[in-house]
């Protein structure tokens, strides 16, 4: 497997005048000669659109548009429709705005009102026909896209007992995943044919779930695994039965596969699973970490285990709020932080070589095992 050997900072983007909360890559860019582009949103109440300029001698990133004078408070998150034509932005001002990209100009074509207070996250379904939003009022709202840029609320999902931090549509199934200040992840399915949405599973502390706020979640490319990150300083990997999921319309439950702890030492705000199976996490310890599945199976552990591939300490001067892999072939990552900046990174590839030191450590561990085995078998000492 081709793995990464280093992380290179390509550019630091300045422009926002307050913390940058979130960013979203336009999914139709980075392919077929269309330059990569993403949106960022901030406590400065604006959204910025950034684009790669491959023709410039320095191959730089430029701010192409500033979307302002619509939201009156913090813009907490943003999401592109699958076609890349619309951008949805969720704000503390209790609204979600829909922006249409008309030849590089962005026009606010609709404002979704309904949440009682802060809207914290927004997500489009894979076909772009539905939108989900969530917020401090503990609810998840589902909106249907109607002709003429109309959005009708078709369901309000109640079940979380606190603030809902993030909502995310499953990449292929008609399922919504939400994570909350109540420490749980809830999975919602349309049980009937008529927008009869219900909570079909709650992943809480009793199912090996998180013990504090769950801030974000992300799916692998196949949609049969999910990673969540939390204020409890852990990342958790969850899985479902892919074969069963393909063969039935019924909901197939998710289960805990493993917990990654002992890495970040402050709240983990963001996690994103790349198409080639590298998990990136960004946290309040200013560090970005990368994890991959351990392929040296030793037969001792059930299910997959994960190892840290790389870490970048002091990636930003302050808390990292969002890490997102770009679409397209290259391993480009963008990160957004409390310091008001966005950074573009390239994960440089190469075969992962075991460093002599870690090899030595491994050998020592093996020796220790044998040594204690001898102690136990000869002297009965444990």
């Amino acid at each position: 497997m081709e793995l990464a050997k280093g992380l290179r900072e390509i550019q630091k983007l300045e422009g926002h005048t307050d913390r940058v909360w979130s960013l979203a890559w336009n999914p139709v860019t980075g392919v077929a000669g269309i330059p990569l582009s993403f949106a960022s949103c901030s406590g400065d109440k604006t959204v910025r659109i950034w684009e790669h300029n491959p023709s410039s001698s320095t191959s730089s990133w430029d701010c192409k548009a500033v979307l302002d004078e619509t939201h009156t408070r913090t813009v907490r998150s943003c999401a592109w429709s699958p076609s890349g034509k619309f951008l949805a932005t969720a704000s503390f001002d209790a609204t979600t705005a829909i922006w249409e990209n008309v030849g590089g100009d962005y026009e606010c074509v609709s404002t979704l009102e309904g949440h009682e207070n802060e809207v914290k996250s927004v997500s489009w379904n894979p076909s772009g026909s539905l939108l989900a939003t969530c917020g401090r009022d503990k609810t998840v709202w589902i909106w249907e896209v109607q002709p003429g840029n109309e959005f009708d609320c078709v369901a309000v999902l109640q079940g979380h007992t606190q603030d809902v931090k993030m909502v995310q549509w499953h990449p292929s199934r008609n399922l919504i995943f939400s994570c909350s200040y109540d420490n749980t992840v809830k999975i919602w399915a349309d049980e009937g044919d008529d927008d009869d949405w219900a909570c079909v599973q709650t992943l809480g502390e009793t199912n090996n779930g998180h013990s504090s706020t769950v801030w974000a979640l992300s799916f692998n490319d196949g949609g049969d695994k999910m990673v969540t990150c939390s204020d409890d300083l852990t990342l958790k990997i969850w899985g479902t039965d892919n074969e069963k999921m393909q063969s039935t319309d019924d909901f197939v439950p998710w289960r805990h596969l493993c917990t990654l702890s002992g890495y970040h030492d402050r709240t983990i705000f963001s996690v994103h699973w790349s198409r080639d199976n590298i998990i990136a996490s960004g946290a309040a310890d200013d560090t970005i970490r990368f994890f991959v599945e351990n392929d040296d199976k030793d037969g001792l552990v059930d299910g997959p285990s994960y190892k840290m591939l790389l870490k970048k300490e002091k990636a930003h001067d302050m808390d990292i709020n969002s890490v997102q892999w770009s679409p397209g072939e290259d391993r480009i990552l963008a990160s957004a932080a409390d310091d008001g900046t966005i950074k573009i990174w390239a994960l440089t590839s190469g075969r992962l070589m075991k460093e002599p030191f870690s090899l030595l450590l491994e050998q020592l561990c093996n020796c220790k095992c044998i040594f204690s085995f001898i102690l136990v078998s000869i002297f009965g000492i444990t």
Partner: protein
Amino acid sequence: MVSELINANPVIYEKKERRVRSVPTAAADEYAVERIDQQEIFDHIRDIKDPEHPYSLEELKVITEDAIEVDDGRGYIRVTFTPTVEHCSMATVIGLCLRVKLLRSLPSRYKVDIRVAPGSHATEAAVNKQLNDKERVAAALENTNLLDMVDECISPSYE
């Protein structure tokens, strides 16, 4: 504000003597990274006014110098405060005042945790969780009424 005081008769303590911080003059290099200690943090927050009494948090012993922990190397600071009564509904406001005052006083590299002293508040876990959720804090500080209240408490008293 509240018509009836939550703690009508708080105990008032004497203020601690103000020490002059001993800055080694020989190493007065203006570019050197200045280390931050307990006393400096205490000096930043001792004069914050209680939201419902004309006394400072120091006079009410809501905060003491000993309740401040500093890990200057990692830039981690933890302030533990003790509300005057167990059911103090002002605890989150006091916590917000501490957070905002330190946010405005310290270099941005510092990471601040605020908590109520263990056993000092009826809903300790809930108060602590809220005060350390920066998204909730950010949203709270966009509320003009709340921000006015915080500003009033942390404004200098010119005594």
